[in-house]
Symmetry: C2
Subunit: 267 residues, 2 copies
């Protein structure tokens, strides 16, 4: 029997809409409830305790909307508190980190994988741990890139500034000889073009949004929880604040206009 | 009689420590209670309603510590909700905007003043209004610079990236023929060197931290509220979260190690 319950997706802000975009492309018949914590974004430089507290609140919120699964689109949350969320949640929780790591291991030939992400994601060494659990032979090189989120939100997706900033960040990774690079932050798919120009030729870029969409499909399919293939899907977005230029930024990440947006004050 | 009560200073994060630094240099005998809302930083792209709510909470918090005056080090708050804070507070409130505007009017020769700041500060047109209230002849050119805060926090205060980003932002201001530039964000004093290299030769930079420190001194002096000149001053810092690399970033803004830091969970 088809399971028509929606998939819950959350992120610290609007960046997770890149995951929604990938999910809608991979699973066009699934409804989605998105939660973006725009009043408290970014999580990337907050303490683990605070990230944990915020995430638990959001999981409880999504469960009230009868979601069948929760996708943690936020790399910072996936990196720091996924285990706690697994324990806390009554429905399965899938994070972006494991999915991205699996794709990267499949893609690498020389077993040297690079990771770029926020300060919090990189400091947590979550990708390194996930990669090492999958294959002990994997070598890693990682780089925190605090300027890439504002760059993506500013919409500077090409040009001098984008090239210079990205070049600065990937230079040591290129020198270390990686052949695969995980884009370990929901904002980075927007900068894929400039990143692909700046990495060594032949480097495979792993988009964690695509990776997690694939993982969700596999999981739903295995559990017999896919929605009916004739079903019309719905996207509902909850945000905790209406930030400036919200619609333009949201549309940039989602690749489509945002409908059905509601603001939540106390979660 | 000397007034030994401390001065309250607040900001959305740690950037306001540049104002504390200027205050300590201008008023070495005044004690300061600083509040940095590091759990909810940045305010720059949040809605006015939310910025107002957060600011009222902080004003109430500072008043409990018996401050004699409150300095709003945050440009976003000063730009958007200063009038509400004036009404709400039982002690005088001074914002960075008016002080910076006054200094700029004194400095300009051709009556054309440039302003750089966060998206929220620039969108609010608060500097334009303050400048026009001071002198109707003043012409303005303004530019939102969302990348400068992460640049300052990252510590990229010189080099290719800083030069390219700053050049991009000040280019239209240079072309418009400004002779004075207001650094309308507490983070920007850290980038003063690169900014001064990129603006047209002879452009005067107005550091709003210095400007507000001067305004506070004038106000306290006029009200007979200066502390005793032999008094030893104390700096107490409250923050709502201990962010990553907090000490390094804090020290960069304050220009000295941060002592007496306490974390506040519910304000």
């Amino acid at each position: 029997m088809a399971d028509s319950r929606p998939i819950g997706v959350f992120d610290s802000g609007l960046g997770g809409l890149t995951v929604v975009k990938a999910l809608r492309s991979t699973l066009p018949h699934e409804s989605i409830v998105y939660f973006g914590d725009t009043a408290r974004v970014p999580y990337g430089n907050k303490s683990k305790e605070l990230v944990s507290e915020f995430s638990m609140e959001i999981v409880d919120f999504l469960i009230k909307y009868d979601v069948k699964m929760i996708v943690v689109a936020c790399n910072t949350v996936s990196a720091q508190v996924l285990d706690e969320l697994h324990e806390h949640s009554t429905v399965p929780v899938i994070g972006v980190i494991h999915a991205g790591a699996e794709e990267a291991v499949k893609a690498t030939n020389n077993n040297h994988i690079g990771i770029i992400g926020t300060m919090a994601t990189i400091s947590s060494k979550a990708y390194e741990k996930a990669l090492s659990n999958l294959d002990k032979k994997i070598q890693t090189s990682s780089q925190a890139c605090p300027l890439l989120v504002p760059l993506a939100e500013e919409g500077w997706l090409e040009g001098d500034v984008a090239e210079t900033v990205v070049q600065h960040y990937v230079k040591p990774l290129n020198a270390n000889g990686i052949d695969t690079l995980i884009l370990g932050c929901t904002h980075y798919p927007l900068l894929k073009d400039v990143i692909s120009r700046q990495v060594n030729k032949g480097t495979t870029l792993i988009d964690s949004a695509d990776a997690v969409a694939g993982a969700v499909k596999k999981r739903l399919s295995a559990a017999g929880q896919m929605n009916d293939a004739s079903a019309k899907s719905l996207l509902t977005c909850f945000i905790t604040d209406i930030p400036l230029h919200f619609e333009r930024v949201g549309q940039r990440f989602l690749g489509a206009p945002m409908d059905h947006v509601q603001t939540v004050h106390d979660i």
